[in-house]
Amino acid sequence: MRISVRVNGDEASGDVEPRLLLVHYLRQTLGLTGTHWGCDTSNCGACTVLLDGVPVKSCTVLAVMADGHAVTTVEGLATSDGLDPVQEGFMQEHGLQCGFCTPGMMLTARALLDRDPDPDEATIREAISGNLCRCTGYENIVRAIRWAAGHPAAEVAKEASL
């Protein structure tokens, strides 16, 4: 089937097998390997991307379902102005260790902050509860997202350019 998907602002189109999962379309067809894969049962969230701004587990979405929609992956988080505050927060607060869960975790965080710019700890914990991390015990991920909430994008970009 022929599909056309807007990925990180760029139009991608081509023929895909109807059964191709979005995670494999991104990783293998488009070479965007920042999106990871970690389970067979939609439990881990390593594959989380934004579909029209909403976090989805891309192992549970067929590539054909993304036809005509916009996908944001970790490669699309940073802008020419610099890192997204979420990325900066993960670095500042040591919110990642092996980095495998990190792309999915950051996209979930980005979607949370888009709908709730100042979430408290309980809200953050609930928002990321579908994303497993085996390294960090979540503590610093929560702090990273709080950091991002306290540092709007413009400020982060300004600091980065110094």
Binding site: T33, T41, R125, R134, C135, V142
Partner: protein, 808 residues
């Protein structure tokens, strides 16, 4: 100190980039790529013409293979090859040695011995096609009765699992003991109190977020084999491939790129790795194999599975006299435990723990069952997790019987600082420690007395008529652990004959920038940052100017790799010694450049200067350039600034800590909520406190997972009941509390920079604290983890369940 306060940097001096010149909080260098999705994990490796392999696995726990027909699979469009046990027999590769002197099947030939065992390997143009074709491989099995309950593995009528081994008539692997049985007997005879308890440390799985896999390419023209693989020990893997497959070691390159968590899951060599290599040899193309999650949980390195019977003897006022333990160890169908050769039960015999008593004895009997192989994994420090769980549970059982506060009982028996170095009853030499201080600090942070007061009030309220039946049951649990990490020394410790020492090479470029090459491999621990800080600490050049290279056997010196919390104790020492040698060589160069004698030179903040004349000085960067220049050096001194070190640790290091957990149990559902968790760790000086805290956080989550959620159980046919993340539950952000950390600092006297390692401390120490808290809430002496709502409920009803079997 609590986590909300930032620890002061040990060195106030800052590099141009604002980093500490040495120890202190420093943001991680590796984050730049991970944050942008530019990490490169094994599954991200794509080579031209690469094919994809998939493994057909046994649906049975125990069955004879009658036939394997690959005709239909071979004919499937896109399939390039189908490899079976027969194919491998022709290459003499159907079996391979394990790390414990046994053999294991690469692909089953005669029988399958656990559910999920590898039976055939299909190679196709893409992964979807390979997996489609798996269904076309026709295997005829004759199911056999399975040995599922380890406690019946030695029954006279138990089916013999390993009939591949000559003369085998039972499922016994080994008996092993340590300590002094007679001294124990005497201590028990004069004890006022003896408490015995049976407990299971159930089978769990490290389950890193990245599963295992590899990409192999055998270049037939050059004869070079390159393998990108998920390994914590790239050099050891290279040597094993050379020995097993008869490949020339100098023509093998193992690349362990970014690794998505290891926790011991990526130490062993799995059939899939070997199959990707064989697949590349057979097809001439690169072959990728990545396991899926159920393959990961069902077939690769499980952890624990110890059935323990403990007995503790004490005086009536709570002085411990002796501890003894009998262990039945379930090793699965092959003895594939990854541990030092002379230690069949790993370091379990450090089970005397953190307490002062003269007599101890343990006996371990290991058996085969129809389950996957493994045993040492999941951040266990070679079975110290089991050891700490045993002793910390037994101490709580003793407190229960004596009706004594478990903190008081521990304080009374902890080793005292003046006893170090301390030789334990089973022969371990603990290097340094101040245990009472750590426990006191944990109790201070927790507000222990207030917590006990609150608990007493709640209990009194619950006992009143008309009390709220849904009021949570509050429990407080403690554990105190002593770790033993950083294996060697190599005269005592080897794996497959390879001594546990690690190499390191430090090279300064003419402009004063450096490269540090390590034999160990990071899986998220931040080596690229901390090892640069170690070198910076010694020679004063900025950590951002030091590039740490690891994970590629062609570019790094030999060493045994990262597991057992050994990177910092062993390779960290190697890096420090290499830096010290470079510093001393720089001194000779400085003397030549400044035209003085080396004795006249003093060291200060990254430069050598002439005593009494601080203006006459050369920085490390200037000396690096001088060492590469035409400057005339003394007879016998070669140019350049570099050092190559092999570090053979004189002893293990012994990190320790005191943990306190507070839980609330819902009396109506059995659901356990961890309200607080206080962890005081002493791992010696902290190279990067931010990274140390992160390591502790992760391990504490593991402890909550094991105590409350994680278990791989089996039904009576040997079906694995934990084969997906829907069944094998990992802790999420909702089960984990906000961790409260503290620390004490007791340097290791024998480590060049005093550090002890911390990677596994929290995983080792925390399960007992959570379990002790739950049992304290329930008012029970013992019940087995994991305390899922069902297990807790049954324990509350006085009908506890075995966690390892789905049969009663």
């Amino acid at each position: 100190m609590t986590t909300t306060e930032r620890p002061a940097d040990s060195d106030d001096l800052r590099s141009p980039a604002g980093n500490p010149l040495g120890f202190g909080r420093m943001l991680r260098k590796e984050d730049a790529r991970f944050l942008r999705g530019h990490g490169r994990y094994v599954d991200d490796v794509v080579l031209p013409g690469m094919l994809h392999g998939a493994i057909l696995r046994s649906p049975y726990a125990h069955a004879r293979i009658l036939s394997v027909d690959t005709t239909a699979a071979d004919a499937h469009p896109g399939v390039k090859a189908v490899i079976t046990g027969k194919t491998l027999e022709g290459l003499n590769l159907a079996w391979m040695p394990t790390l414990s002197g046994d053999v294991t099947a690469v692909l089953a030939t005669d029988k399958v011995r656990f559910q999920g065992q590898e039976v055939a390997f299909v190679i196709a143009d893409d992964e979807y096609t390979a997996r489609d074709a798996l269904e076309l491989v026709d295997v005829e099995y004759e199911p056999l009765p399975a040995v599922v309950d380890a406690r019946h593995a030695l029954d006279p009528d138990a089916p013999v699992i390993r009939d591949d081994l000559d003369g085998r008539t039972d499922n016994h692997i080994y008996d092993w003991e340590a300590g002094d049985a007679e001294a124990c007997e005497a201590a028990f005879a004069r004890a006022d109190v003896v408490v015995a308890e049976d407990m299971i440390y159930p089978r769990v799985h490290p389950a890193p977020m990245e599963t295992c896999g590899s990409v192999a390419y055998m270049d037939k023209v050059t004869g070079k084999l390159t393998v990108w693989t998920t390994t914590q020990a790239p050099h050891a893997h290279r040597t094993v491939y050379a020995l097993v497959a008869g490949l020339p070691e100098h023509k093998i390159q193992i690349i362990s790129p970014d690794i998505g968590g290891g926790f011991g899951n990526k130490v062993g060599i799995y059939p899939g790795y070997v199959l990707s290599i064989v697949g590349s040899i057979v097809t001439g193309a690169p072959v990728k194999w990545m396991e899926d999650r159920s393959e990961n949980l069902m077939s690769t390195s499980f952890a624990r599975d110890y059935h323990m019977h403990g007995e503790i003897a004490a005086t009536k006022d709570g002085k411990i006299l002796a501890l003894r333990v009998n262990v039945l160890a379930d090793h699965g169908a092959f003895n594939g435990v990854a541990q030092p050769t002379k230690f069949p039960a790993g370091f379990f015999h450090v089970f005397t723990g953190s307490y002062d008593y003269p007599a101890a004895h343990c006996k371990v009997t290991a058996v085969y069952t129809n389950k996957a192989l493994g045993g040492v994994a999941y951040a266990c420090s070679f079975r110290i997790t089991e050891a700490v769980y045993l002793v910390e549970r037994m101490v709580d059982c003793l407190a229960f019987e004596l009706k004594m506060d478990p903190a008081e009982l521990r304080m009374k028996n902890l080793l005292r600082p003046e006893q170090f170095p301390y030789t334990s009853p089973t022969g371990w030499v603990y290097d340094s420690g101040d245990y009472p201080r750590a426990l006191a600090e944990a109790m201070r942070i927790a507000g222990y007395d207030e917590l006990r007061k609150e608990q007493a009030e709640r209990r009194a309220a619950a006992a009143r008529p008309g009390a709220d039946p849904s009021a949570p049951l509050m429990g407080i649990g403690l554990s105190f652990f002593t770790e033993a990490v950083g294996a060697g020394p190599r005269k005592h410790m080897d794996i497959l004959g390879l001594g546990m020492a690690d190499g390191c090479e430090l090279r300064l470029h003419p402009t004063g920038k450096a490269q540090l090459r390590l034999s160990v491999q990071t899986q998220g621990q931040g080596h690229e940052t901390t090892f640069a800080q170690i070198v910076s600490h010694v020679i004063g050049i900025p950590p951002e100017d030091i590039e740490v290279l690891h994970g590629d056997t062609d570019n790094t010196p030999f060493g045994l790799g990262t597991y057992g919390s050994r990177s910092t104790p062993v390779s960290g020492a190697a890096a420090a010694v290499a830096a010290q040698r470079v510093k001393e060589k720089a001194r000779i160069v400085a003397a030549a450049a400044l035209e003085c004698s080396v004795e006249d030179l003093e060291w200060e903040h990254g430069r050598w200067y002439v005593r009494g004349d601080p203006e006459s000085a050369k920085t490390m960067a200037e000396l690096a350039m001088a060492a590469h220049s035409a400057l005339e050096l003394p007879e016998g001194v070669e140019g350049h600034l570099d050092a190559s070190v092999v570090y053979d640790p004189p002893n293990l290091t012994y990190p320790f800590g005191a943990y306190i957990c507070v839980v609330d149990v819902d009396p109506q559902t059995g659901a356990v909520k961890v309200r607080r968790f206080i962890a005081v760790d002493d791992c010696g000086p902290r190279i990067n406190p931010m990274i140390v805290e992160g390591q502790v956080h992760g391990g504490l989550a593991d402890g909550v997972g094991m105590a409350l959620m994680e278990v791989i159980a089996f039904d009576s046919d040997g079906n694995n009941l934990g084969g997906s993340f829907m069944d094998y539950l990992l802790p999420t952000s909702m089960e984990c509390p906000s961790w409260e950390l503290g620390m004490t600092v007791t340097p290791s006297p024998h480590h060049p920079i005093g550090v002890k390692g911390v990677g596994e401390s929290a995983t080792v120490g925390s399960p007992a604290a959570v379990v002790n808290a739950v049992l304290d809430a329930l008012g029970l002496r013992h019940a087995d983890m994991p305390f899922t709502p069902a297990m807790t409920w049954r324990a509350m009803q006085g009908r506890p369940m075995r966690p390892d079997l789905a049969i009663e």
